[in-house]
Each structure stands twice: as structure tokens, then as C-alpha cells.
Amino acid sequence: MENLNIFIRSIFIDNMIFAYFLGMCSFLAVSKNVKTAFGLGIAVTFMLVVTLPLNYLLNTYVLQPGAMAWLGEEYANVDLSFLSLILYIAVIASMTQLVEMAVEKFSPSLYASLGIFLPLIAVNCAILGGSLFMQQRDFPSVWTAICAGGGWGIGWLLAIAAIAAIRERVTSYSNVPKPLRGVGITFIITALMGIAFMSFLGIKI
């Protein structure tokens, strides 16, 4: 139940784009049409679901102060938390590489549709942000990490697909002031969507 709550919270209230603005760079670059936006959204969701539990295990059993206690008495005082950033990014970058190779081998059609986005994901703030939030909030178990990862990913997917759909219409049907065309109006649309998403505040299951 707790996990379901975290899952729903991560989609709507803690939405990566509307509440924290993470992953905005690729979000702005790719949200020009719905199909590619959807592809990138799927890729991000997948990477979040994979890397968040991995980094959770890494944090619990290697990095936290006292996490190495399972190795023996003399390791009980080791605190490696200053290494967390570099290890998280290493996990994310190598997982991206691994997933890319696996997808290429087993599902060429999926690879063809995601191919160009997969390498980009290594430097997507949403993925590293997910891991850092996980560390900051002290998740109780690895299932919580998976649920939160899935929720953040789906929230990101929803956001980018919705904005891409609106942008497709805006460019063809409306007369936007010249200096605001392109990026400017996308910022304003995102802000309005963000205010709309705030109405989800306080949802609890």
C-alpha cells in the first residue's frame, strides 16, 4: 500500500518535469512530435526502473555510513557516501551501454525506434535525479525504489507526450508572437501544465 502510494505520488505530485524540472534539456529538444517524444519517454522509464533499484542496493550495501558492516567488524565504520555521485553516474552510464547492446541484440525493431535516444539518456538529469532523491529520502526497501522509479518514469512520459501533442497544434494553428516562437511558448505551456498538475497535491491512497 505504501509502495502504491509512492508510485502514484511519483507520477502526479513529484512529477519530474512539473515539480523539479529534471530532464528539461532533452524534453525541450525532443518534444516536437508525439512519436519520438513517446519513444524517449519509454526509454527514460525503462532506465529509471533499472537504475534506481541498482543504485539503491549500491547505497544500502556499499556507500552509506556503516553499510559495509556485512563484510565484518572492521568495516563497520567505513563511510563512502562521498563517492555516491561518481558511482551513480558510472552505474547509469554503463547500464545505458548494456541496455543498448541488449536491445540491439534481442529486439532490433525496438532498437530502431529507440536507437538514437538511448545514448542520450546517460546524461538525462531525470535519471541521476531519481537516484539522488532516492538517497535523500531513505527508501525503506528495494521495492519502493522500483515503484518510485516506475512512477517518475511514467510521469515523465506523460509530461513529454502531452507537451509534444500541444506543441504540434501550436505550431500549425496559432499565431504566437515572433520572439516567443519555439522555445519561449514551450516554456509557458510547460508552466501552465505545471500549475494544472499542482491540483494533484494532497492525493493520498
Binding site: 529534471l22 534539456c25 529538444a29 555521485l85 553516474i89 515572433k178 516567443l180 508552466a191 501552465l192
Partner: protein, 208 residues
């Protein structure tokens, strides 16, 4: 002499004409989240300047020895190392601010400005121009952060850097702080307004 002029454009271009945030649209993620108050925005800007300048120099020094196929990983490791130093320094000397910035210092690693500048500039240029490019882009980023944070803190809390700016008699006359400015979406609106003003003056940047 030609070298001098080039260095000057490298340094000053990112301030306005080629600003990383509002023209190249890089590094938006962190630019928006830390701007509810002026102080964290300034600290964030300084951290980005430091990381950007030094990672540019380091990558530029070793650019000829990095194999192309693993350059992204090398860049990430250099940047992550510098970010760890910055975050430990902040925890030691500015603990309150580092609590406010929370995860966003760590997110400097995936800040697109860094990867963009390392790929586009440091991989192809010598250390000194790379250093200038790093500082220039960092300052360009900081300028936008400070402008956004200035308006959000002034209109949202009536304070600047924590000091009361809006006089008390205003409040007695019925003036109320605009709570909306503190909410995250307003950062996007303020940036959109900056883009609007900037592009009205620089017509060549307008998109069709």
C-alpha cells in the same frame, strides 16, 4: 592580435548573444529549480562557473589522449570528481545553502551546459581559450539565474538575499506578496519573459 580578439569573443559571447540558458537552451533543469531565493541561485551559479572552468581545462589538457569511443565516460568522470569536491566544500563552509540546494549540486554532473561545452569547445581547443569559454558560459548561466531569482524573491517574499526590501507601509496599505512566484512553474514563466525581451532585441535569434 587575432588570438586576442578571438579570446575576447569566446569570453563575452555567452553573456548575451550565445547565452547557454536562453539561446542554446542548455542547463534548464537546475536553472529553474534553485531560483526561488537569490542566495542559493548565486551559490549555484558560482559552483557551475568553477566546475565548468576547471573541467574545460582538464579535458582540454588531455583531449589528445582520450579515445573517441569512451570520451563521454571520461568527461563524466572528470566532471563528477569536480562536483564531489564542490559539494564537500559547500557542506563544510556553507551548510545551510547546501541543504537548500539539496540534490541540485549533484545534478551539475548531468547539466547539459557541461557536456555541451566539453564536446563543442574543450575537445577542440587549447587550455586557455577553454578556461575563458568555461568562465564565460558559467557567467552567462549565472546572469540568468540571478535575474530569475531576483524577480521571484522580490515579488514572492518581498525580500532580497533575506533582507526585507518592500517597506512595511506597503503591507499596511494592502500590498500582498504574490505567493504564486514561489511555486516552481513561475520560474518557467520568468525565463520565457526573459527570452521574449532578449529575442525582441536580437531579431536574428527568432524562430519561425
Amino acid at each position: 592580435m587575432a588570438e586576442k580578439i578571438k579570446n575576447k569573443t569566446v569570453f563575452f559571447n555567452p553573456f548575451s548573444k550565445n547565452n547557454p540558458v536562453i539561446v542554446q537552451i542548455l542547463g534548464i533543469c537546475s536553472a529553474l529549480s534553485v531560483t526561488a531565493k537569490l542566495e542559493p541561485a548565486i551559490v549555484m551559479g558560482l559552483s557551475v562557473i568553477a566546475v565548468l572552468a576547471f573541467s574545460n581545462v582538464i579535458i582540454s589538457l588531455i583531449r589528445n589522449t582520450i579515445p573517441t569511443s569512451i570520451r563521454i565516460i571520461v568527461q563524466l568522470v572528470v566532471v563528477a570528481g569536480l562536483v564531489i569536491i564542490v559539494s564537500e566544500l559547500l557542506k563544510a563552509y556553507a551548510y545551510d545553502v547546501s541543504l537548500q540546494l539539496s540534490v541540485f549540486i549533484g545534478l551539475i554532473i548531468t547539466n547539459c551546459i557541461l557536456m555541451g561545452r566539453l564536446e563543442a569547445f574543450a575537445m577542440a581547443n587549447r587550455p586557455w581559450p577553454s578556461f575563458l569559454d568555461g568562465v564565460g558560459n558559467g557567467v552567462g548561466y549565472t546572469i540568468i539565474l540571478v535575474i530569475v531569482a531576483f524577480f521571484r524573491e522580490l515579488l514572492g517574499c518581498g525580500t532580497l538575499l533575506g533582507f526585507q526590501v518592500v517597506p512595511n507601509c506597503f503591507y499596511q496599505a494592502g500590498y500582498v506578496n504574490n505567493g504564486l512566484m514561489i511555486l516552481p512553474p513561475m520560474a518557467l514563466i520568468v525565463v520565457a519573459c526573459i527570452i521574449w525581451v532578449h529575442r525582441s532585441y536580437n531579431k536574428d535569434l527568432q524562430e519561425n
